[in-house]
């Protein structure tokens, strides 16, 4: 029997959220032990008996029984969730109380509580993201370090420090309070957005790892809009943006496993289901008068998704959307993307002009795709030598072997002989269409 992909990882998040709710967030470590225990038991028993019909119910029941043992044995020694004390004290109420917390809807709410708790204002954004991945998505420290291309001890420190803040917060975030909920929601959006970006634009060379981060971000945002208080336009916009971008993931590597730029991607590989879901969510996001950066980014992705070929892209609309995004959330990366869109519409010289005008451009000084964009536009302007210098600079900043291979090809494309045929064939294709 084949288990669902990442079943354990996901169940880890569900179990720990529920257990931390019952034990109290200050006993997070105890909750994690119980989860580990449930997995060890599953490993031993399923090895010999095969997986049960409903593996997640089996794991949950195991965790619940272990929790009941602990609650009975330790109730004089430990303080559990303070608001539950009176229910956990007597045998009469213990079982029904715990049973209730293990109902599907309660588990869902507990995951949301945990998600909001992880986005504690006292934690820096990158710590929130790591904590969400660790607690709710079941990633180990090593797996997070791998995904973030960071070293083990840095991530370990970040997570243990964050856990201390979380455990010190007395109780989990209360999602029933509408005012608190709305106040914390933007931080949650931001953390999920960063999680998605880590997958989509991150430095990891493993495309599988990156796709998993994107999937997790999509899954957690769907959990958000399932809750009435979080089903707001910004949540829909964020989810729409994720779906529309994730739809392109299968085309990001070409047949020989090399990175493929948006313009060169085989668009037939874009995932039509995710595009449709993205559009549906984008429609739902347009219900209020709130306009967030997620709306704009989703809209830009939707414009790309509507172009069956790169030549049919509505660049004017994309430039206009980047203009709005620059007003809402200006950043050098946004400015760079805007410049690239302008180059598509008005030619490479105009694009280069815009790149030269980027404010705080020094923040892009180690970003390989800044230099790659300069190289691309110089190459299109016919300045092969300058283009090659830029691509070499980009190559020096490449973050993994995949980026290195891609940029090496671009350096080679600056040689007069190899670059010429691809240009002409490209033009011929355009002509054929008209």
């Amino acid at each position: 029997m084949q288990l669902d992909e990442h079943l354990f990882r996901r169940e880890a998040g569900r179990m720990v959220a529920t257990l931390a709710r019952i034990f109290g967030v200050h006993n997070l470590a105890l909750a994690e032990d119980v989860v580990q225990d449930a997995f060890c038991r599953a490993l031993e028993v399923w090895k010999f008996r095969g997986a049960p019909e409903n593996p997640s119910a089996w794991l949950m029941a195991t965790a619940k029984n272990r929790a009941l043992d602990i609650l009975r044995r330790e109730r004089t020694a430990l303080i559990f969730a303070p608001e539950l004390t009176r229910w956990l004290e007597s045998e009469w109420t213990l079982r029904p109380t715990v049973d209730e917390f293990f109902l599907p809807n309660a588990i869902k709410d507990d995951q949301l509580r945990m998600m909001f708790s992880c986005c504690h204002p006292r934690l820096p954004e990158e710590a929130q993201v790591a904590l969400v991945l660790h607690i709710l998505c079941g990633f180990s420290v090593d797996e997070i370090a791998g995904a973030f291309v960071s070293n083990h001890s840095a991530i370990e420190k970040r997570i243990s420090r964050s856990k201390k803040v979380l455990a010190g917060s007395k109780r989990l975030f209360e999602i029933a309070d509408a005012a608190d909920f709305s106040a914390r929601l933007p931080s949650v959006h931001r953390a999920l957005y960063l999680l998605f970006n880590e997958g989509y634009h991150g430095a990891s060379a493993e495309s599988a790892v990156r796709a998993e981060l994107c999937q997790e971000a999509v899954r957690l945002s769907a959990m958000l809009f399932d809750h009435p208080l979080a089903a707001v336009p910004a949540t829909y916009a964020l989810s729409a943006m994720m779906c529309l971008h994730a739809a392109r993931l299968p085309a990001r590597l070409d047949a020989s496993g090399n990175l493929s730029a948006l313009a060169d991607q085989d668009r037939s590989k874009w995932d039509p289901t995710l595009i449709a879901e993205g559009r549906r969510l984008l429609d739902l996001s347009a219900t209020g008068d709130e306009l967030t950066e997620y709306h704009i980014e989703a809209a830009i992705a939707a414009v790309h998704a509507s172009a069956p070929r790169v030549e049919e892209t509505d660049w004017a609309q994309i430039v206009a959307l980047y203009d709005t995004l620059m007003k809402l959330r200006p950043s050098p990366v946004v400015a760079l993307n805007r410049a690239i869109a302008i180059a598509h519409r008005e030619g490479p010289e105009r694009g280069l002009e815009e790149i030269r005008a980027i404010a705080n451009v020094e923040r892009l000084s180690s970003y390989p795709f800044y230099f790659a964009a300069l190289g691309e536009l110089e190459l299109r302007s016919g300045h092969r030598e300058i283009a090659r210098t830029h691509f070499r600079e980009a190559l020096a900043h490449a973050r993994n072997s995949m980026e290195r291979r891609f940029l090496e090809q671009r350096v080679t494309a600056c040689e007069p002989i190899t670059a010429a045929p691809s240009r002409t064939s490209h033009k011929r294709k355009v002509k054929q269409m008209h």
Binding site: H6, C40, W46, K47, A51, G138, S140
Partner: protein
Amino acid sequence: MSEFVFLYRNELPAAPPSPEQMQQTMQKWMTWMKDMGEKGQLKSPGHPLERTGKVVKGKQKSVTDGPFTESKDIVGGYSLVEAKDIAQAVEISLGCPIFENGGMVEVRPVMKM
């Protein structure tokens, strides 16, 4: 055909594996067991054993917590395998995923009576 007991021996890892790693280990075990079953080599999948218990020994019949918690190779479970001879039984044991995590399989012929 002869019968063999596979004793699975390993120690608990120092750092707990991640959920993803545990799932992968699990998947490999299930595949291996299923494979033995389909080939008619598995007389009985056997049982896992708890890692805690008691050890009773000596004339005094002293009872201590065990089994030998300091030992690196606690028996974690056993299966009953059918093979033509010990060589084939060993051959079958080679597919066991336990080796990936530093464990071992003890292959013991069941005595014919």
